[in-house]
Every structure is written in structure tokens, then in C-alpha cells.
């Protein structure tokens, strides 16, 4: 009898010791991040952080962008507390900060050199003047093109290409028999996929999502022109299956030499210039994102940043990790160990003044200018009530952007006409805004 009781008791005691011991030994940080190239490098290099901080263990949750967003939002909105460090974007940071879901990142150590961080990027990650996330990499958008194809066709790239010119050029270099599309653009539905690009296109055509009374303007003339242009351009000179291509698919197509031009994130430049990952590294040209009516809002502003949820129990350790991963030292470490084209771009002035980076990345200054030039507070020709270049900084935008993205994709495949897609989008957006109480 005694033995029967004693055994489980001993078990409980032993378990208790194990628990107690591990609590003393190391604190475990759960880091949730995207499976983008730069984050995969961070995960690989994080052993250096663990060596320097023997009292902190890192546990990684690496997910695809859409899935990560769902997991993080449900976790933080229900106060789940699964994660200690979250990878979020320019869209989420201010909205989540306003709901007090994130811990403010104040009193950063002197050595972190906060002033070195790019201002437009930091503005996007702040709320009420306080930073709530630190940028891991930042990006704008620009145009990539194949210099060899342009030379063959006798085209001269201009300092600021227009969409009309792009259409003309696409016609000249489009060569489906050789498997080369004139231009590749995002077509995969989603507010962070096709709508990021489409919104910049609409901006430069002089359109906007909402007027000052929050009434949607998706059935306006500017939207119509922009979407008709987009559908027409991709159907004539785009790659096959354009409506299922997102950033990653187009990156693969372009680096395999299957696109003549591509307008997308500046963060792709490092990969395209890396000869081990790209077939077109030696014949790559770049130019600003094309414009139509107005240069305003023609290129976007985005950053992936690290933040600490208010529900985390290890805020200090999390802060320690975030400041490590976004520090100048980290950038240099990636440069030394992985290669200078692979360093996370678009976050620090010091990256751009670094000679080694400038040498390895001819696009460096260009990207810096594009990021500095993007202004989320003034991105549309007519005034708009929202902040964000390729996004609308309200919580409802996820839903709106996804719905409208689906409609635009349907217009692209010919499932419905552009007019019908836009009037459906207008109606759906109107409903969402009424439901959320913006318009009565």
C-alpha cells in the first residue's frame, strides 16, 4: 500500500524539481515570424544570440504570411499569450498599439542607436509618438527590368517611366514562344498581395479608397481606368496564370528570366542581384515605380517589424532579443557571414553609409530614396482620411482588401467584367463600412 502511494509522489516530486530547475536555468522566448528569406537567416544566426544570453532559449514558430497573420491576430485579440515576440507589419503596428495589445518599446539602450533608424519606417510603427515595434527590414516598390531585352528591342529607359511607356515596352519585349512575358505583376488575391500593387496603381491614376466622409470611391473613373489598364496589360503581356502569382511566384519567374519587367518590392533586389539565386543578376536594371496622372503614392512603404505583445510574461528578455535582431551589429553580422546583398535592407542609415554594402548593392541609394520619398500621410491626389500608401490604416481594411482583391482577380481572369468587379467591390465595401459604423 505504502509503495503504491509513494511511487506517484516521487514522480510528482521529480517533476517539480525538473520544472523548478528549468525555470532557473533559462527563460524560453517564443518567436513568431514569417518564412521570408531574411527571417530564415535570422533564425539561422540566432544561435549567436543564445550563446551571448545563456539564460534565454529561443523557440521558433515560422509560418507563411497569411497563416502567421491569422495566428497572431487570434492570439493577441483573445489575449492568448502564446508568443513573446511577434513579427508584424506597418499595417498592424499602430492599430494593435491603439488597442493596447502591444508593449511600448521605450528606454532602449544607448548602444542601440535609435536615431539611426529611418524616420518614415519608424513613423509607421509608432502610435501617439511612441514606438511599438522595431523594424527588421523595410521596403518600398520599384521597377526591375532586363537590360539585355531592352537593348535588343532598342528601348531607352527613362528616369521616371510612365505606365503608358511600360505598356509600349511590354509589347516590344513580350515573347511567349521563348517563354518571356513582357511584364509580371501581382495577381494573387489578398490585401497584402495584389491589392498592395493595385492600390499604388490606383493612387498614381489619381484615385483613392475613401473620400473625406469615408464613402468608398471604388466605382470612380480613376479606379476604372487603372483596373482596365492593369487587366489589359497583364492579359496581353503577362505570364500564364497571372491571377495566381504573388510576390514569391513573380520573384521566381523573374529570376529565372521569364519576365521582361516587374514592378514590386525593393526587398527583392538583394536576391535578384545575387548570382547564386538569380539567372539575371548580370543583366538587371532598375527604375522608379511607373507613374500615370500623379507621382503621389506610386510606390509603397512597408516594413516587417518585431513587437512584444502586452500579454507576454518575458518582456525584458523579448526586448533583449528584438534589439539584438534589429541592431547595427546584426546587419554587420549578416554581411560578414551570409553576404552583403543579404542584409536586411531599409531600416538603418548606417546600412546605407556602409561601404561594403554600397559596393555589393548598386541599388542601395535608390532604395533609400524610394523609402524616404514614400509618405503614408499624403499618398493620394485628392485628400483622404486614412494613412498608408498601399493600405488603409483601419482594422476593416483586411476584410475590405481581401474582398476587393478577389473581385480584381476575377476581373483579371475574365470571370467578370471590370465594371462589374468594381461595382461589386464598391457595394461590399459600403456594407462593411456601414456595419463598422463609419457611415450611417
Amino acid at each position: 500500500m505504502k509503495l503504491a502511494y509513494a511511487l506517484p509522489l516521487a514522480g510528482v516530486a521529480a517533476f517539480g524539481t525538473v520544472l523548478g530547475a528549468s525555470a532557473v536555468q533559462a527563460e524560453t522566448l517564443t518567436v513568431a515570424t514569417v518564412n521570408n528569406n531574411d527571417m530564415v537567416i535570422m533564425q539561422r544566426l540566432s544561435s549567436a544570440f543564445e550563446e551571448a544570453h545563456p539564460d534565454i532559449d529561443l523557440e521558433w514558430v515560422v509560418l507563411e504570411e497569411n497563416v502567421l497573420r491569422q495566428r497572431l491576430t487570434t492570439d493577441i485579440a483573445t489575449n492568448g499569450g502564446q508568443f513573446d515576440v511577434m513579427t508584424i507589419g506597418t499595417y498592424e503596428a499602430p492599430i494593435w498599439a491603439e488597442r493596447e495589445w502591444l508593449a511600448p518599446l521605450e528606454n532602449l539602450p544607448e548602444s542601440y542607436n535609435q536615431k539611426d533608424l529611418l524616420k518614415p519606417v519608424m513613423d509607421g510603427l509608432s502610435h501617439d509618438g511612441k514606438p511599438y515595434a522595431l523594424p527588421f527590414y523595410g521596403e518600398s516598390s520599384m521597377m526591375y527590368y532586363r537590360t539585355d531585352l531592352f537593348e535588343q528591342a532598342g528601348i531607352e529607359m527613362t528616369d521616371q517611366p510612365t505606365w503608358k511607356e511600360v505598356r509600349e515596352w511590354a509589347g516590344k519585349i513580350n515573347d511567349p514562344d521563348k517563354g518571356i512575358a513582357g511584364i509580371c505583376l501581382r495577381g494573387k488575391p489578398g490585401w497584402g498581395e495584389n491589392m498592395a500593387f493595385v492600390t499604388t496603381l490606383v493612387n498614381t491614376y489619381g484615385g483613392r479608397w475613401f473620400n473625406m466622409d469615408w464613402e468608398p470611391e471604388i466605382d470612380s473613373e480613376s479606379w476604372n481606368e487603372a483596373i482596365n489598364f492593369y487587366v489589359d496589360l497583364l492579359n496581353n503581356y503577362g505570364p500564364p496564370g497571372a491571377s495566381s502569382n504573388g510576390f514569391n511566384e513573380n520573384l521566381a519567374l523573374f529570376s529565372q528570366g521569364k519576365c521582361g519587367m516587374w514592378v514590386d518590392a525593393t526587398s527583392a533586389a538583394g536576391k535578384l542581384y545575387n548570382p547564386s539565386e538569380s539567372n539575371v543578376a548580370d543583366k538587371l536594371g532598375f527604375a522608379p515605380a511607373p507613374v500615370a496622372e500623379t507621382p503621389k503614392g506610386s510606390h509603397w512603404l512597408w516594413s516587417w517589424a518585431l513587437a512584444i505583445p502586452a500579454s507576454s510574461n518575458s518582456k525584458d528578455a523579448a526586448k533583449e532579443f528584438i534589439t539584438w535582431a534589429t541592431s547595427q551589429d546584426y546587419v554587420e553580422m549578416v554581411g560578414e557571414k551570409v553576404g552583403w546583398t543579404s542584409v536586411p535592407p531599409g531600416t538603418r542609415e548606417s546600412t546605407y553609409t556602409n561601404e561594403k554594402y554600397q559596393e555589393a548593392a548598386p541599388f542601395a541609394d535608390f532604395v533609400l530614396d524610394a523609402i524616404r520619398d514614400a509618405d503614408p500621410t499624403d499618398s493620394t491626389l485628392k485628400p483622404s482620411p486614412y494613412t498608408g500608401v498601399q493600405i488603409v490604416g483601419i482594422p476593416e481594411f483586411q476584410s475590405i482588401g481581401t474582398q476587393v482583391g478577389q473581385m480584381i482577380a476575377a476581373a483579371l481572369t475574365g470571370e467578370m467584367s471590370v465594371d462589374q468587379a468594381l461595382s461589386n467591390s464598391q457595394r461590399a465595401t459600403q456594407r462593411t463600412m456601414e456595419r463598422a459604423g463609419y457611415i450611417k
Binding site: 496564370g241 483586411q398 482577380a409 470571370e415 467578370m416
Partner: protein
């Protein structure tokens, strides 16, 4: 010490009821609690992204749901999908069952092979179809089309619903085949033999002997498939994400969009309640039909 065998069967019918009570209560709780919570949430203003906006919403969620053109399109898509897949699997399954009932060399292996798609996970088979079969550049179907000098089809953009129906039918055809083949094996050989001696051709044998014999099995296949097909999700999620437009958004996917892309728990619950009602309507008709068949 032997107990009377009839104990508890009589006493005014009270005893058996009391004996059943725990099991029935558990089952009821099992069903009523989630259902009750869904109904309760569907009457709330409850959006994860709007922690400030809460409270009783009355029928507002339902009002928005029923005025949403996406709901009707999703219902239509759901019925269209289920209907076509049922037709394809039952007709195809019956024909294949007749074929695989014949004696031929390597029948055992052929049977295993034809049944195997059913054991592939939906997500995996969707991925295989998306990237290896239907891809407009690298897919087998595109290669075949080019072999015959045709333009490859961009399946998921030009024929989205057809593509999904093809994938799901491929998954469920083996199931129908499996059940129908088992039923075939219980077919009385003497009867077929007798019919043949009376001069009946293979077609008449199929229509007047095989098919009536398979009737029960077919109704079981229809019922079981219907239950699973009303909730097709993984195939849509992996391949088309409900698009382009709303072309492949069924009811299950619509609820997913509302719950996990819009984070609107109230609206998603309302959608869930509607889905439950729809499933029950279908089930009542179906169960009646099948039950009738089984009684005969």
C-alpha cells in the same frame, strides 16, 4: 443469486428511461452546448479586431448575412459542387465496380491502385493537382495539351469550379467504388447466369439485375458523401482560396473568411447557424429517402 432476466423492463417504463438518462444527457450536452454557443455568438456584436464594440446585436448579423450577395452565391456553389461530385462519383463508381468485378490479370493490384486516392490527405491531393497536374506551365495536363497542339488551360483561373469538382471527385470516386464493389460481390451469380441463359445481353443484365441490386449501396454512398461534401474546405483553401471572385466560395469557405480573415465571430456564427439549418434540411430529405430504400 440469479437475477430475473426481465428486471427493469416493466415498471411503468420508468426504469429504462432512468438507465438511459446519463447517456442521453451526455449526448445532449455534447450537441447542445456548442450549438447554443454558436447561436449566442450569432446574436452578439463580436469582432476580434474591435474589442470596444460588443454587446447584444439582435438579428443584425443575420440581416447583414442575408443581404450579402456572397451568401446566395456560396449556397449555389455548395449545391452545385455537391451535386456534380455525387453524379460523377456514383455513375463512375458503378461503372468501375462492374469493370473491377470482372476477372482479369492483376485484378488485386489494380483494385488497390484504384482505391488509393481515397487515402491521400485532401491537402496533399489538392497540392499535387495544383502543382503537378493542373499547373498551366509545368502540369501534366498542360503537357498533354501541348502534345496535341492545343493551348494549355489555366485551370484555376478559367475553370475554377470545374477544377475543384475534378479534384474532389478524384478523391471520392474510390470510396463509391469500394462500397459498390462490395455490394457487387454479394450479387447472386446464379441469377446472372439464369438471365444470360434466357438470352439477356450485358446491358439488360446491368440495368435489370445489377443496378437494382446496387440501389441500397448507392443510397448509402450518396448519404455518406453528402455529409462530407457539404464541408469541402482544404481543396478550396489550397488551390483557389474561394476565387477568382466568388467562383469557388462554398458555405464552409465563406464562414472561414468571416471568422479568420475578417475576424468577425458574430457574423461567422450566423453563417454557421445557416449552414446547420441547410445541412439539416438536406439531411431530412436524404435520410428519409435512404431509410425508405433500406426498408424495402
Amino acid at each position: 443469486m440469479t437475477k430475473p432476466r426481465a428486471a427493469g423492463r416493466t415498471v411503468g417504463g420508468l426504469r429504462p428511461l432512468m438507465l438511459q438518462a446519463p447517456a442521453v444527457t451526455l449526448l445532449l450536452l455534447w450537441m447542445v452546448v456548442p450549438l447554443g454557443m454558436t447561436v449566442w455568438f450569432s446574436l452578439q456584436r463580436y469582432n476580434l479586431l474591435m474589442p470596444g464594440m460588443t454587446g447584444f446585436a439582435g438579428l443584425e448579423n443575420y440581416e447583414y448575412l442575408f443581404t450579402d450577395p456572397a451568401l446566395w452565391s456560396a449556397m449555389g456553389t455548395t449545391l452545385l459542387m455537391v451535386g456534380w461530385i455525387l453524379v460523377i462519383t456514383v455513375v463512375g463508381g458503378t461503372l468501375l465496380a462492374v469493370l473491377f468485378q470482372q476477372e482479369f490479370f492483376g485484378r488485386g493490384i489494380a483494385r488497390v491502385l484504384v482505391i488509393s486516392p481515397f487515402f491521400v490527405m485532401p491537402t496533399v491531393s489538392a497540392l499535387v493537382w495544383k502543382n503537378m497536374m493542373m499547373h498551366p506551365a509545368n502540369g501534366v495536363l498542360a503537357w498533354l495539351a501541348q502534345l496535341f497542339g492545343m493551348q494549355p488551360v489555366d485551370w484555376f483561373s478559367s475553370l475554377p469550379l470545374t477544377s475543384i469538382i475534378m479534384i474532389v471527385s478524384w478523391e471520392w470516386l474510390p470510396f463509391a467504388l469500394l462500397i459498390l464493389l462490395t455490394a457487387m460481390q454479394s450479387l447472386d451469380e446464379d441469377q446472372v447466369e439464369a438471365a444470360r441463359m434466357d438470352g439477356a445481353g450485358p446491358l439488360s443484365i446491368f440495368f435489370f439485375i445489377t443496378l437494382p441490386h446496387l440501389k441500397r449501396a448507392i443510397s448509402v454512398v450518396v448519404m455518406i458523401e453528402m455529409i462530407f461534401l457539404l464541408t469541402i474546405f482544404a481543396e478550396i483553401f489550397v488551390t483557389t482560396s474561394g476565387g477568382p471572385g466568388l467562383a469557388t466560395t462554398n458555405l464552409a469557405y465563406l464562414i472561414y473568411i468571416q471568422a479568420l480573415l475578417d475576424f468577425d465571430v458574430g457574423m461567422a456564427s450566423a453563417g454557421g447557424v445557416v449552414a446547420i439549418i441547410l445541412a439539416n434540411i438536406v439531411a431530412i430529405f436524404l435520410v428519409r429517402m435512404v431509410a425508405k430504400n433500406l426498408e424495402e
